[in-house]
Amino acid sequence: MNRKIGQKILLSVIVVSLLFITGMTSVQAQPKTIILATTTSTQDSGLLDVLLPIFEKKTNYFVKTIAVGSGQAMAMGQKGEADVLLVHSPDAEKKFIAEGYGINRRLIMHNDYIIVGTSNDPSKIKGLKSSSEAFKKISSEKTLFISRGDNSGTHSKEKAIWKVAGINPEGEKWYQQTGLGMGQTLNVAAEKKGYTLADRGTYLALKKNLNLDILVEGDAILLNIYHVIEVNPAKWPKVNVAGGKAFADFMVSKETQDIIKTFGIDKFGSPLFFPDAGKKEEELGK
Amino acid sequence: MDDRRWTMNNKDYRTIWSERLGMNESGPILEARNIEVKRGGTILLNIPFLSIEKGEILALIGPNGAGKTTFLQALSYLLKPFQGEIFFKGQKVGSGQSVFEYRRKLAMVFQEPLLFDTTVFNNVASGLKIRGMKKKEMEDRVVEQLERFGISHLSHRSAKTLSGGEAQRTSLARAFALQPEILLLDEPFASLDPPARESLVEDLERILKLTKTTALIATHDRLEALRLSDRVAVMNRGKVLQIGPPDEVMNRPVDEFVATFVGVETILPGKVVKKNGGSFLASVSGKEIEAVGEVCLGEPVILCIRPENVILSAHLSKETTSVRNVFQGKIERIVPFGLYQKVQLGCGFPLVAYVTNHSLEELSLTEGKEVRASFKATAIHVVRKGESWKGF
């Protein structure tokens, strides 16, 4: 009986040390870690795949990119579980700063959203200058509209447009929420022949497999603006302050902004983003 | 049935046994004292004393629930807890000798073969492997046992493909391979069909005698017990009621229960009405039966008559014979009973006789026929109520 207990203790010791070793090595392997919370669309654009290696080489930091919706990214910031945010949901961001969770909100870049749908466009919104007008027409015709429904930046933008249009689509049969990422939502819209709001980058990336056309673009409200926010260490002492700042500084630096300017041209013929560091938000889109 | 306490005359017993087995041992190989097992208020086992001599084969018989299995498991310390002490070769187990060492001197075979999911060879070798025996020595022993039990041709077969008899042989071979000092068998043949059983009992008997292994066999088959054992112990409700050589237990049962269990079919309560030297007359249901024994006048007794000792005859006239007990009776039932026919008579008291099929025809016995039944006075076993059993 004693031997059996002894063996079990030995086993548990081995197990615990195994875990410990793997844990320790993984921590040691990474010099200093920065947790960057950003959105799926940002990650999906591929921009970070280009920028991060440069940053890591330069500063010897290891960046853990956690791609979730803007809503969740900010929630992570609120809990001190991220060091720096790269998000595009301005109203929520302003609240975030106002409540003291973030500091140094700096403009990085923008791209835009578009309203897409099938080429036969049953609600006849093609060419409209106002996105809210387009939404009103979709609502009155009760044509199928696919929403991301996941508190992402895209979803927040969409909700803002509905608000301007004075319509609450929640609960309507023609308004379906997927809770999925942008790429998947576009596919759902294509399958079900519905309308949706998408960011230009993701649309361009998937265009050839979808059967959706750009129907409405250029409205000021459709601007998709990206900011970098450092998480406030005053609330959460464990935040990697230096790391967060280093990343934010990197994003606004000239070299980075130049890369952003040309990113996507070779693949899509036009850039996916427009660099805006240093500008004021109000200036954009003019 | 009242509780009978019995005592052992150790010295006599041991001397007799030593003579019988031709040995000069200093003591019994196993002694169990004051063994008590209780479970939730019920007494499962209550044995004040039992001893076994080296080389002896002791059969434990009794109905289901008598405590045979419990006793065997207690003896091998597979059952815990139990009260009492066990002495192996004079040394108490648990202090002078560790339980584990003691257990390694035993081997146990159960009713189910309980083989391992591997070849027959590996099964037989398993006990040896557990003891870390060297490969060559192990192989030799295994081969020897496989031959002894006639299963060498099955050596590489998987245990799952064996028949009942083959599996039980493997289990026995596995036990014998350990060359145990004491072999315990718990109803080893109960699950086998008659031909397999027959053949295995024969082989076991032969091998036990050959190896002079001390063995304890629990069984509810009286004939098996008779055949294999040097001594028989009858158990019921956790107690040993009688223990002794087979013929003694069979023909001189100590009480009604034992008598019924060992196959005494006719059990007659009566009262002593006349004494005549060593013999006496007992009044049973109005008739008088002569028997032999030390009794007191007026004493209540129980007369046990084995059916084999009752002789039937068609002649109703009284002939002069040396047999004192002759009664006329009507055949109430004839029941086939194995190789015999069991004839139940009413002679004023119930009487059971065995006859062969041949005799049945010869005497043209049918139900309802009047016949004459006789049995010797000496063939009657007398049980006195309140008697304390002395002797072996």
């Binding site: 063996q7 079990k8 086993l11 195994l18 956690i66 | 309980l114 999911d117 493909t161």
Partner: protein, 232 residues
């Protein structure tokens, strides 16, 4: 349909050319799930055997808990492990959130009850008296446990397969605690989800096929071992 064909072609191509990213992801999947399965085998088998062979008050409750644990939703496990490993959580000082280690932990928590439950059932299925027989052959308690495990080896191998199969195909917890970080904590399942949400169905299908082939091969090997043990 041609999407699937494209996917198969792509899978083939990625494997043949030893595409480094795909190789990395595959290797990490094997590593993480392999280690998790091994640890869960240690804990699961030893605990399962112990519970099966012991008698104690509340055994029924423990057995029910284990059986419930077998059906534990992986995402729930992921959620709770995340909460524990958060920086500001009780185990935050280890700083292992968003690492492969965290994934191993989560997958171990998922696989262990499965292994435990199957072991428990396997041992309990053995004939009651077999334990006595083994002891009667002179085995120590430890030897007895070992022999019982050997006797139950067929279902125990099934436990290995069930445990491994459960975690190599797990995605919810892996994303939550691992973060799906490129080149670091990205495994086949999480990569498949990501590529699907991006709309890159070809790559997603390719990864899915690789995962299927991987799972199948490993299970095939283990099944071979298991079936070889079957009596002739």
């Amino acid at each position: 349909m041609d999407l699937i064909f494209e996917g198969i072609k792509k899978a083939f191509w990625l494997i043949i050319t030893f595409d480094p990213e795909v190789m990395g992801i595959t290797f990490l999947s094997l590593q993480v799930s392999g280690i998790a399965t091994l640890i869960s085998l240690f804990i699961g088998i030893s605990t399962g055997v112990t519970v099966a062979l012991s008698r104690f008050i509340g055994k029924r409750i423990v057995v029910s808990l284990i059986n419930t644990g077998m059906g534990l939703p992986p995402v729930v496990v992921g959620l709770f492990v995340t909460i524990f490993l958060w920086r500001n959580g009780p185990l935050g000082f280890f700083e292992i959130l968003y690492t492969p280690t965290a994934m191993i932990i989560a997958q171990t928590v998922i696989a262990t009850p499965i292994v435990m439950g199957i072991t428990l059932a396997a041992i309990q299925q053995l004939p009651q008296k077999l334990r006595l027989q083994i002891l009667a052959l002179g085995a120590t308690r430890l030897q007895m446990v070992w022999i019982l495990i050997k006797e139950a080896r067929l279902p125990l191998l099934a436990a290995v397969m069930a445990g491994f199969g459960g975690v190599i195909s797990e995605v919810g917890a892996s994303i939550m605690v691992g973060g799906n970080i490129k080149g670091y904590s990205r495994v086949l399942t999480t990569a498949t989800v990501m590529e699907t949400s991006r709309g890159n169905f070809e790559i997603a299908i390719a990864l899915g096929i690789i995962l299927l082939v991987l799972a199948f091969s490993i299970n095939f090997i283990i099944t071979q071992i298991q079936q070889r043990e079957r009596p002739r």
